[in-house]
Structures are given as structure tokens and as C-alpha cells.
Amino acid sequence: MRAFVKNFWVPKRGNSPGEYEDAFWVGSAGISEGELDQSVLRLSLADGASESLLANRWAKLLVSCFGKTDGAATTAAGFMTAYGDATSQWDEELEGYKADREARGSPIQWYEEPGLAKGAYATILAVEFRDDSEGESPAWTASGLGDSCIFQIRDESLYSSFPMSDASAFSFQPPLLPSRQADEAVLLRHVCLTASDWQPGDSFYLATDALAAWFLREIEQDGRPWETLRDLDTSDALLDFPEWVDQQRDLGRLQNDDTTLLRIDII
């Protein structure tokens, strides 16, 4: 399949780019952008929870594990494999962080210990596109836990929305993947899976919660939010992404939060 992929992100207003706690992964290398031609294209998107420590590291680890794991977006077993890979690497990540702090003469303080012991938390959305080269019809699958979303646009209308479909359902307490290995049975109660078809001309938008909620609110008010998002970085755009996000925040239409968009146009 051939697709044009573009990423957009801005940190929460008042935060520096270094404090951005979303993470994303595209293609085999993780940060591909532009025109891709692959028989299998995987993408993943995570939103680190701001009330946890090392949320950005956990979000990055999750997207790499889900982006590299065959089936992570397709089956519950694949999801658990990717999650298991991430949690098995977390202790090493944590020890490396603590050692680095010691080396920098900035050891862990009393107020950090409970948060580090509790672990980091993030949402995850994993998506896999497969082309029809093996005689199968072109399909995409997705798995998710939490409120990071994918929207599929076909023929100028919303064709699929996953896993959220109601703007009022977003909250400060979405289900989150913990860095401390969670009980599998409990976890699986919250894992969502979906599968659908794609065709050339379709567009997909992957978004973290603030932008996803905005997208669904626009839909609920008979708007066409994809028109705004597809024009970003084109000559039709009146504003670039950070400017547009700023404007929407000022208008109270977009929650002030880290905001990430992955746009995939199937060619």
C-alpha cells in the first residue's frame, strides 16, 4: 500500500517541548514521514498521564513495542505481547534513570519516590494496515486502551471512529496502561479491538484526547473536522498546526493538553 503520512504535535500551553508526554511511532523505523510504500504499515500513539512520573519515557517505550510487534493491533494476544515487552523493559529504564540522576548529582527526592514506585501510565492506540498483495482484501486493524483515537474518512464522511465515539465520554480519568505489569484478565476487560477495510482515497486521523474530543464534538455539531486537519501544512491552510491549536484553545474549543495528530492519506 502507498500512503502519505504526516505528524503534527504541540505541547500543552505553558509547557516546554521537553515536557511533551505524548509519543508516536510510524512505520518500521518509528519516525517515518512522507510517502510510504509498505505491504504492512504499523502506527502507534500513546498519551502519557500527566499525574505520573516518567510518563514520556513510558509512552515512548509503549509506542516502540506496539509499533514493532506483529499483531499488536490485531488480537488481544498480540496486544499482551507488546505490553509484556514494554513492562519487561521498564525496570531497566527506571534503573537507568535513577543512575543518571545520581551521576548528575541530583538523586531521587522523597516526593518522587511514591510516584516512581507506583509507575508511569499512558493510553495506547496501535494501528496496522495491510495491503491486498496476498489476495486478501485491504484491511486495517486497531487495538486501544484509553482515549487516543483513530478516525477514518471516506467520501467526505466519517466512516469509522475508534475506540471513542462520543465527545462527552472524555474525562480526566481514562483507562491507562501501567508500567507495572497489570493483571492480564483485568487489562483485557479494557482492551478494545476493531477491524475494517480501506481503499485508496481514504484518510485516517490518529489523535490524542484533546484533539479527538474536538473532532467528535465537531462531528456531533454536523461539522467536517477533517477539512481543517487535511489542509494543515498545505497552501490552503490559514494557520500552521501550532497556531491553529493556539486559536482553538483560546476559543475554548480545545482542551489545553499535549496535542498530537498523525494523518494518513491512502494513495
Binding site: E113, F172, L176, N256
Partner: protein, 278 residues
């Protein structure tokens, strides 16, 4: 209302009022001999600790909150914290974090992962020690909070409404605290009126009561007075209280009787919350 973002660019204020009068020397009901002054000092230390931990990030503690801790008792009305912060009126949370008077080591029981509990050493920061001397100038303390918050609101007119938490046995002897509380609760930001909560420690041995919506079950006049002084919980705080097993209604007040109130820290939204899946 009560929906303003709490951030470093738009911080809010937490004012703690700490009763240090002589009556606080008495034992708390059902408290195995613990003095009321021990209970409130411990409660304030835990509240400051919880608030700090909630705002801790990799680079340090973010100043989502500024803290004023005011003691009232025989020594009059004035700053409550000890150690390096002694004498300070309004302190950014990042300074609270790095300047406790001392760090104690306490043992805490935590789940062992196999259905049991194990004891673990944890660091417990101490900013205030128990004191119980003289009268109870609660009205003056409430007036002092009003002065602090008038200045704060002048500088931060769009902030999430500040929270005042009064830790006391309720035995004011410098006037009617209901009148002083009424004056304090008139203060407001663009996002709503300030919130006055009361943690009542009592020698009465009645069962603990958390966030009641009427005063019918309260055991004494002091409790009923403090209930009257307390703000009604905003809707979103009621939701968080419900998640902690508290039944709420439209008249649920920010008041507890001989009960823990550390949960109030969790009533404040600073970003995506973390909790384990169920």
C-alpha cells in the same frame, strides 16, 4: 464554574488554618490517646506531602499551588510552618517540597502482591509539630486568610478558586466564626467563590463522619457550627468523593468529623489522573 485550569501559568492557592489552642492538648475520641494537636499536625503534614507528590515531575515539583499555613492559638495568629520556611506567609509548592523542617522515617503497610501486607520504610516530611497553648482566635485566623486571599485573587483573578482548610476542635473564643467564615466565603475568582473546608477533631467518641449533607447526625454544637461554615462541594468534587465511597447530594459540605481529609487533595484536577484498572 470551578473549571479553571490549574497550571504553572494559572496557579491556585491552598490556605491551611491550624488550631494550636490549649484545648488541642485533649485526647481525640476513639483515638487511642492521641492528642488533638497531634492529629491536626499529622494531618497538615500529610496534606502537604500529598499535594507535593501530586505535583512532582521529573524536573521537580511544579508550582500549581501556592501554600499559606496559618497557626492560631496562645501565640496569636501567624505563619505555621517550621524549619527553613518559618515566618513565611505564601510559599510556592516547590519550596515546600525542598524545605521540610525534617524528614522522618515511618513504616507503612503495603500490599505484597500475594494478598498480604508487608511493612516498608517511607520518608515522612514534617513541616509542623504539635503545639497546644492558650486561646482559640479562630475568627482572627479566618480574617487573616481573607487578607491573604484578597491579595492572591487580586493577582490571580482567573484562578481556580482557592481552598481554605481549617483544622480545629472548633472551640473558637474570639467571636462568632460563622460571621468570619461568611466574609471569607464571599471572596471569589472569575471561576467561583473560594472553598472553605473544615476538619473537626473532637474528644467525642462518635463515629467518624465524612462530607455530610446535613447536620442532623453531628454530635455537638462545635461540629454543627463548623458544618455551617463549610462550603458546599462543587459537582466535580462530589464525583471524586463518590469514587471514594462517599454518598453525596447537592448539599454535601467540605467537612469531616474525626476523619481523614487527605482525600481533598485528590479533588483537584491538574491533569490526567492515574489509577489502576479494575
Amino acid at each position: 464554574m470551578y473549571s479553571a485550569e490549574i497550571s504553572r501559568a494559572n496557579p491556585t492557592c491552598f490556605v491551611f488554618l491550624l488550631d494550636r489552642s490549649a484545648s488541642m492538648e485533649d485526647a481525640i475520641g476513639r483515638g487511642e490517646g492521641q492528642r488533638k494537636c497531634d492529629v491536626v499536625a499529622d494531618a497538615l503534614n500529610r496534606l502537604l506531602s500529598e499535594l507535593t507528590i501530586k505535583c512532582a515531575k521529573e524536573e521537580g515539583v511544579r508550582d500549581y499551588f501556592y501554600v499559606s499555613a496559618i497557626a492560631y492559638g496562645g501565640a496569636g495568629v501567624g505563619p505555621a510552618l517550621g524549619g527553613p520556611l518559618a515566618g513565611r506567609d505564601l510559599i510556592p509548592l516547590s519550596e515546600i517540597a525542598v524545605s521540610p523542617a525534617r524528614l522522618e522515617t515511618r513504616t507503612k503497610k503495603i500490599p505484597d502482591g500475594a494478598g498480604g501486607l508487608v511493612e516498608q520504610d517511607v520518608k515522612f516530611p514534617v513541616w509542623v509539630d504539635p503545639v497546644a497553648v492558650g486561646g482559640t482566635p479562630m475568627c482572627r485566623a479566618l480574617n487573616r486568610a481573607q487578607t491573604v486571599l484578597s491579595g492572591w485573587l487580586n493577582d490571580h483573578p482567573s484562578c481556580f478558586p482557592p481552598v481554605v482548610l481549617n483544622l480545629t476542635d472548633g472551640e473558637a473564643n474570639d467571636g462568632d466564626p460563622v460571621i468570619a467564615a461568611d466574609g471569607l466565603r464571599q471572596l471569589a475568582s472569575a471561576d467561583g467563590a473560594i472553598l472553605l473546608f473544615n476538619l473537626h477533631v473532637s474528644s467525642d467518641s462518635n463515629s467518624p463522619i465524612s462530607f455530610p449533607d446535613n447536620d442532623a447526625t453531628l454530635p455537638n454544637q462545635f461540629a454543627r457550627t463548623l458544618f455551617t461554615m463549610s462550603s458546599v462541594l462543587p459537582d466535580h468534587m462530589c464525583t471524586y468523593a463518590q469514587q471514594q465511597g462517599v454518598a453525596t447530594s447537592g448539599n454535601t459540605r467540605g467537612f469531616v468529623f474525626n476523619a481523614d481529609m487527605t482525600s481533598v487533595v485528590q479533588f483537584l484536577d491538574i491533569g490526567t489522573r492515574t489509577s489502576d484498572l479494575r
